[in-house]
């Protein structure tokens, strides 16, 4: 109430009030100041920044790290389904895989790995697309970045075709694509080979022999895998369809070419490396640290002393022993051990398999024995004990020898389950009754499109059957 105030004081108060009101106005103006609302995000890079050609190496590297992680992620489940790893822990999603049930789309581990595989595919395609654009514009500083992006693309497409019954390939961020279809999954190998072919041309143009070796080996691997796929599909009884062995001229050409390129490198391998400052290999955390799984009895029953023994020498298989010790690592490396993707060993075994399928003479001088012994020489470089002679009745028969060498030399390389299928073998933990494991009742079956995709992909939601 103003009635009690004298006029001068009232005027003074009014002036003060005016000052205060103006101050208030200034404060409000300050509060609404737009520039304050512009805050920076130093944690990430805006998508538009990837249009800059200087981002090319980082894009390719991103594709590599995404692929390396996705490779280890799906390897964890794959090796558990096969006899390479066996479950000893608390997470019975792994038990489900261990006993041979792998098509459950809600299995937490398959479901957890699925996005990493999807990201690896998308990142590889993104790298190829972006870097090709830079290349076309003449702004790509290092064409090897594009060549290796093709390698990553080739690996991931083969990996998906190897691992999954079905998979949506064309999805791009928010835009979903329908799955390829179970009967068309082998088309991914075609994509893989196409990428490898383009990568080889680039590597040759830059004279990057290392990349050319990897890309050529990858094309051989993709072609071989495509042939294996045809042996296993349609899945179910009747697998393998025909002879379990692959003998493909184009595979042999690439395998030999890759070996020739790699000849300067003893025991050549293309591997993903992992470290604390990049990414871990995913599988090490589950097996080495948490101990949900251990190496399966088919390889190591209890201790390294019981490691798989070489059928010729009777001693612990050197490669399995090396791989097991390497995989286990030390306290400092148990998450970060490298994982092998391609190797000279596999190329030799591809050649041996083709020779066997082609009716090799099955003598020590035959192509089968030559290539098997080429692998064995890597295990026993200073000993003559390694030699395998298929004519020697005391030694394993060629088929058993091939299966053994593939088992030993492709340990933890995402190959074993396919070999079990096509060679008509079973893993020791597969449930043979009540109920029979899917791996037994439906040989050839692979991982499904999992729940995370089934619920988010509108094609799967609208027509669930297309996603199974």
């Amino acid at each position: 109430m103003q009635t009690g105030l004298d006029a001068p004081l009232a005027r003074g108060r009014a002036r003060d009030a005016g000052i205060a009101l103006r101050s208030l106005g200034l404060a409000l103006g300050f509060a609404a100041c737009s520039s304050l609302l512009d805050v920076k995000n130093p944690n990430n890079v805006n998508a538009s920044d990837l249009d800059n050609p200087t981002a090319a190496p980082a894009i390719a590297n991103g594709a590599l790290s995404a692929l390396a992680y996705g490779w280890g992620a799906i390897l964890t489940e794959y090796a558990t389904v096969s006899d390479e790893l066996t479950w000893i822990g608390s997470r019975d999603g792994f038990r489900e895989l261990d006993v041979g049930t792998l098509t459950n789309p809600t299995n937490e581990f398959t479901d957890a790995a699925f996005p990493f595989v999807g990201r690896a595919r998308w990142m590889a395609d993104l790298a190829i697309k972006r870097l090709s654009k830079f290349d076309s514009a003449g702004t790509l500083k290092n064409r090897d970045d594009l060549a290796r992006s093709y390698l990553y693309g080739a690996i991931v497409y083969t990996m998906i075709a190897d691992m999954f019954n079905n998979f949506p390939i064309g999805s791009d961020m928010q835009n979903a694509a329908p799955p390829v279809g179970r009967d068309k999954m082998d088309s991914l190998y075609t994509v893989s080979m196409g990428y490898a072919t383009r990568g080889i041309a680039l590597a040759q143009s830059t004279k990057n022999t290392g990349l050319e070796t990897s890309l050529t080996a990858m094309r051989a691997r993709a072609r071989h895998a495509k042939d294996v796929w045809s042996l296993l599909h349609p899945v179910g009884s009747g697998v393998p369809h025909g002879s379990p062995f692959v003998n493909d001229a184009s595979v042999l050409t690439d395998a030999r070419a890759a070996l020739a390129l790699a000849s300067a490198t003893t025991d050549w391998k293309f591997r993903f490396s992992y470290s604390a400052t990049t990414v871990d290999n995913y599988v090490g955390a589950w097996v080495n640290s948490r101990q949900e799984m251990r190496v399966g009895d088919a390889y190591i029953t209890k201790t390294p002393a019981d490691t798989l023994r070489d059928p010729i020498t009777g001693t612990v298989d050197p490669e399995v022993r090396r791989a097991a010790i390497e995989f286990k690592g030390t306290s400092a490396t148990q998450f970060y051990q490298p994982l092998t993707v391609l190797s000279a060993r596999e190329l030799y075994l591809i050649l041996a398999e083709a020779a066997l399928a082609a009716g090799d003479t099955l003598t020590a001088a035959g192509q089968f024995a030559v290539n098997i012994n080429a692998v064995r020489l890597l295990n026993y470089p200073d000993s003559a004990r390694y030699k395998y002679d298929p004519a020697n009745a005391a030694q394993p028969r060629p088929v058993a020898m091939l299966i053994y060498e593939r088992k030993a030399n492709l340990f933890l390389q995402n190959r074993r389950l396919h070999d079990l299928y096509r060679f008509g073998q079973t893993a020791d933990k597969w449930q043979m009754a009540t109920p029979v494991a899917e791996t037994v009742s439906t040989p050839g079956t692979l991982f499904p499109i999992t729940q995370v995709e089934l619920l988010s992909n509108p094609f799967c939601v609208a027509t669930p059957t297309v996603c199974y």
Partner: protein, 1113 residues
């Protein structure tokens, strides 16, 4: 330089300048006099402390001290003084003050259970009486909790208001509680209320920062940094209708904390010392059970597990008693981890001042070593230690200027063991212990058994089957040191009696360093294989929030009938978060405790700045002091949308009518009975904005072996906008029998539009992370009711009874076409979902087939006919035939021993979509929650307080602890009934009938976990808990003053969590996997919001007993 301290200094400099400026403005003085007096309880004659005595129509006032006395310096003339105090009726009286003289004004307050004259802050600091508002704001007077066994703010809030759920989550010492006001507001953003201390927004986070975690529990809360001795009262604005003026972060409500101010007079000292003990309740942890294997079973299991599995002979030697194959043995391994905890709290306060300057200063130190023990096993501990200081200074340079400066500071230290659903947690692995696996031989070490269940050295005496021994888990420590400062400067200037201004400037700074550490050589038993050479993670989280606020209040009258109060102002916050950490693993030797010593090193950093600013206005129109209409709104802008986007406007309106203010009230029998009646209604909006960068498509770093790399991080959504909650409420307060009985009922409804939902796009498209989109809608509603009665109010006995209850619901009504989301990501065992058409946090999971007689007509899903069991293990031909087995078939099947692993029950897929895990199994929040209790004063000097809290109604707890212990073939099956079933199944001596019965128990009670997630793991979680009991003896004031020479002395014995009544069979129905900040330090996200009622190896709430002495000089 951008350090928070530099900004703080700048803020304080600005504040000082403002103080000086205002001081100059208000320098003109005039004649003043003094009023002093005493405020006492009209019935008991006891002094009333904390009563607010103020000049009507002004901000000038003071609080009575513990002896009920006050003193005020006011302008000379005739003034009206009024008192307010929770629990008492308001009294006003005219006083004539002569310049330079002292006037006496004493008050005798009658107890009342309704208090509509209480002043509350409606938004941005505008004060008004409760009765003028159409929305509800509840007030918790810290003075009424003086004797209650509460040690922090979370406990001060718990069970005081039916609309406020305080969720303790676990019993580790210093663990913060989550707070929910009126259920769930948001799907993804924080459902925690924003918190202000004296008008300054404070850090409300919890946990250990971005990079350190102990397992979800044991998480410290930054709210509990607030010194409870410094709190005067707390106001809770419940929901959008009340919190509109707080803008874009207030949908989940607002908690306003007001700290104590001094009152004029000579220095008054108050001391408090409390000593306490705590224990975990006995009998809540079921003992570890197992069955003795035969030699062949032991051998096979040893090969399978990769550990030494002892034979019956070895077990007999280990335990010093003869054990036979298939014999059930039990051991209470968890007992080794429990001890009697103790606590000590010491507080000293001084307050006083002159009528122009008053002060309050408090220092408090508390330390508690909780009932988690086992120090003999390793260094893990539960410790919480806080040194707190608070100070406030109130200056009245003139009768029109009030300056208040406040500061709170805490230096906190917190330790907690690994806990909850963490396979490297000592309690977890103690609960997983298998007496039949107990051995002194581990994979990498051994010693000899002592014959009484222990080992002479390394060993596995608790029989863990995997991961690590309890002793190894005890090597891991989690610690946090935090420093938290809150400073505020508030200046109020009454330019005219009708026009006043107020400004607040404040800063809240938190610097917390968290560390998780596992020393070199922590695998002391040769079992564990996680970082045997040690590791350490540190997280340094610094957050600074600047608050600036200014407002003007213009009060007018229109004739004799109408009054108007118009408030306009602005409010802004700048929040800057820096969270950085590092990790080091594999130390070269013992004694190293720095991350840089690790062979593997990594670093993390996250920077975030959020700016929120808005202008607000509110008009309150009153009619004859009994009807009030309030309308207002806030226009808000937020940096989440950048400077190019428009802001959001949130409107509000409310009406309040109090008929008992009419002159004619009280003239009839009815109106004489109803002493107070108010009807009210309100509607308003508030919002929550997404994260600062959620709208952008971004790539994040992911280095490769060939160099730095980028991968897709955030999909981006340029159309992102804040979600908006619209809430309306209506209610009434009724006072009966001269306000000796009261009922307060509120009905409320809320809809959250454009709810931000983390949509999963197809991961085949490259997106791993979820993208926020405005596609959701949540609807919620409920009743809150409080009944208070003062049945006895004599000088020798006064009893007040109270009861409150809240009923509420919250449903996800729309998610667009987005898929449902689950708590815990791909981890299948947390079954709390956000799914369209279901309650928030709905539980889904597997079901067994039910009787065909109960199957819906026309349905074709699997069901059981009489005589059939939920198995397909066999058939007429002795092989599975695709049909449920009959009892006869199973009896044949069980003619020989069978393993439980081979007994997979049939699951049903009722909707036929191929998903066996999508059956609705209940919800994780109760329909009803509330509390009741009593406060009594006996023979003037004895005070008694009791409080019970309860929850019930469609309340389902996920008992994951027992799901593991019942079912898991490796680490579980160690509850007695699970061990018995397994032993029966494999024992050759069992009969087929016994095995069939065991199979039924297995299917209907025990089988759980993948791929049966949700099966046999949900339980009714209703409970009633005896939360608080206190008995206080107040030494008669005269005796205290004359004999002891002190103003007062009180002695209090109190207990907390004294008893629990519940049908829940697990450890504790209040355990939850996620404590405050246990899933996300920023308190948002699906896990933090909906990870409710998950009992996963948590710690029961301990019983606490304390003895407190308070002395005033």
């Amino acid at each position: 330089m951008t350090s928070p301290l530099r900004r703080l200094a700048a803020a304080l400099a600005c504040g000082s300048a403002l103080v000086a400026c205002v001081g100059v403005l208000g320098a003109a003085g005039q004649g003043t006099g003094t009023i002093r007096g005493e405020v006492v309880d009209a019935t008991t004659g006891r002094p009333v402390d904390g009563a607010h005595v103020y000049l009507v129509g002004t901000d000038i006032g003071t609080l009575t001290s513990a002896d009920g006395r006050y003193q005020l310096n006011v302008r000379a003339g005739e003034i009206v003084l009024r008192t307010r105090r929770v629990g008492y009726g308001s009294v006003a009286r005219k006083v004539t003050v002569t310049a330079g003289q002292i006037a006496q004004a004493d008050f005798a307050l009658a107890q009342a259970v309704i208090g509509l004259d209480a002043v509350v802050v409606t938004g941005a600091g505008a004060q008004t009486e409760k009765r003028k508002l159409g929305n509800t704001i509840s007030t918790i007077d810290a003075g009424t909790l003086r004797n209650a066994p509460v040690t922090n703010l979370s406990e001060q809030l718990a069970a005081r208001d039916p609309a406020v759920a305080v969720l303790p989550s676990g019993g580790l010492v210093g663990e913060g509680a989550r707070i929910r006001i009126r259920r769930t507001t948001s799907l993804t953003q924080a459902n925690e209320p924003v918190v202000y201390v004296d008008g300054v927004r404070i850090d409300r986070s919890g946990g250990f920062g971005d990079n350190v975690g102990a397992g979800g529990g044991g998480t410290p809360s930054r709210l509990d940094d607030i010194n409870p001795e410094a709190v005067d009262h707390v106001e809770i604005l419940k929901g959008a209708a009340a919190a509109t003026l707080y803008g874009s972060e207030a949908s989940a409500g607002v908690v306003q904390i007001f700290t104590k101010t001094g009152s004029a007079g000579a220095p008054r000292w108050d001391f408090m010392s409390a000593q306490g003990i705590s224990t975990y309740p006995a009998g809540r942890y079921a003992p570890d059970a197992g069955w003795v294997p035969t030699d062949s079973i032991a051998s096979a299991r040893s090969a399978s597990l990769g550990i030494h599995v002892p034979t019956a002979t070895e077990l007999s030697a280990f335990y010093g008693q003869t054990l036979q194959p298939f014999q059930i043995i039990e051991r209470p391994f968890v007992k080794d981890l429990f001890e009697t905890g103790y606590s000590g709290t010491y507080s000293a306060s001084v307050s006083g001042g002159s009528p122009a300057v008053t002060y309050f200063v408090n220092g408090r130190y508390s330390r508690e070593n909780g009932p988690f023990g086992g120090e003999a096993l390793g260094p893990a501990r539960d410790i919480d230690r806080r040194a707190q200081g608070s100070a406030s200074l109130q200056i009245l340079p003139t009768d029109r200027v009030k300056i208040r400066v406040g500061a709170l500071y805490v230096d906190a230290h917190h330790e907690t063991p690994n806990n909850n659903n963490n396979i490297y947690a000592p309690l977890t692995n103690a609960m997983f212990g298998h007496p039949e696996l107990a051995s002194c031989i581990t994979p990498r070490d051994s010693s000899r058994p002592t014959g009484d269940g222990h080992c002479t050295g390394a060993g596995n005496p608790d029989g863990v089957a995997s991961f690590g021994t309890v002793r190894e888990d005890m090597q891991r420590t989690n610690k946090q040191d935090a420093k938290h400062f809150t400073g505020s400067l508030n200046v109020a200037y009454e330019a005219l009696s009708s026009l006043s201004f107020e400004g607040t400037l404040g800063v809240d700074v938190v610097s917390q360093l968290s560390a998780a550490f596992r020393p070199f050589g922590n695998g002391v038993d040769g079992f564990i294989n996680v970082s045997p050479q040690g590791n350490r993670t540190v997280d340094n989280r610094t957050q600074r929030i600047l608050t600036a606020e200014a407002k003007a209040t213009w009060k007018r009258r229109f004739g004799e009938q109408f009054s108007s109060v118009f408030v306009a102002g602005g409010q802004g916050f700048i929040t800057k978060l820096e969270d950085e950490g590092s990790f080091g693993e594999a130390f070269p030797g013992p004694g190293l405790e720095v991350t840089s010593a690790g062979a593997n090193q990594n670093a993390f950093e996250r920077l975030l700045t959020v700016v929120n600013a808005g202008v607000l206005g509110q008009e309150q129109l009153g009619f004859r002091d009994y009807a009030f209409l309030t309308v207002g709104g806030r226009y808000d802008r937020n940096s989440a949308f950048g400077k190019t986007k428009r802001g959001a406007f949130y409107p509000k309106a409310s009406v309040s009518v109090q008929p008992n203010q009419l002159p004619s009230w009280g003239n009839s029998a009815l109106t004489q009975t109803i002493s107070t009646l108010r009807l009210r209604a309100a509607i308003g909006q508030s919002g929550l904005q997404p994260g600062a960068f959620d709208k952008f498509t971004t790539f994040g770093p992911l280095a490769s072996e060939l160099g730095p790399g980028l991968v897709l991080s955030n999909l981006g959504n340029p159309d992102l906008k804040p979600e908006v909650s619209t809430e309306w409420e209506a209610g009434t307060e009724i006072g009966l029998f001269h306000d000796r009985a009261a009922v307060d009922v509120t009905y409320w409804r809320r809809v959250t539009h454009d709810a931000l939902y983390p949509r999963q796009y197809p991961p085949s498209g490259g997106a791993i992370n979820l993208q926020l989109t405005n596609i959701g809608e949540i609807r919620a509603g409920g009743y809150d009711a409080t009944v208070s009665v003062l049945p006895i109010n004599r000088a020798d006995l006064s009893v007040k009874l109270f009861s409150n209850i809240g009923w509420g619901w919250a449903w996800v009504t729309r998610l667009g076409s987005a898929p449902p989301l689950k708590v815990g990501g791909s981890y299948p065992r947390y079954r709390n979902f956000v799914k369209e058409g279901y309650p928030v946090g709905a539980l889904f999971g597997a079901k067994l087939p039910g009787p065909c007689s109960q199957r819906a007509a026309g349905a074709t899903y699997l069901c059981l006919n009489p005589g059939e069991e939920p198995f397909d293990l066999t058939g007429p031909a002795g092989k599975p035939d695709g049909k449920p087995d009959s009892d006869q078939e199973l009896l044949a099947y069980f003619a020989q021993p069978r393993t439980l692993n081979s007994l997979s029950p049939l699951r049903v897929d009722e909707n036929g979509d191929g998903n066996f895990l999508d059956h609705y199994l209940g919800k994780s929040t109760p329909d009803w929650q509330g509390s009741f209790g009593a406060n009594a004063t006996i023979l003037r000097n004895v005070e008694l307080g009791a409080l019970f809290e309860y929850k019930f109604g469609n309340y389902t707890i996920t008992n994951l602890t027992d799901a593991f212990r019942k079912s898991n073939p490796v680490i579980g099956r160690n509850l007695r009934r699970a061990a018995e079933v397994e032993a029966t199944m494999v024992n050759p001596a069992s009969t087929p009938d016994q095995r069939l019965a065991a199979a039924r128990t297995w299917a209907y009670q025990l089988k759980a976990l993948s791929p049966y997630d949700g099966l046999n793991q949900n339980e009714n979680g209703k409970f009633l808990r005896f939360r608080e009991l206190s008995i206080t003896y107040n030494v008669p004031p005269r005796w205290a003053q004359e004999r002891l020479g002190v103003r007062y002395v009180s002695l209090t014995a109190a207990g907390r969590n004294l008893a629990l009544w519940t049908p829940y069979s697990g450890v504790d129905p209040e355990i939850n996997e996620y404590g405050r900040g246990g899933a996300n330090a920023d308190l948002n996200g699906i896990d933090q919001n909906f990870g409710d009622a998950i009992d996963a190896f948590g710690f029961a709430l301990p019983r606490r007993f304390s003895f407190t002495v308070r002395v005033g000089f």
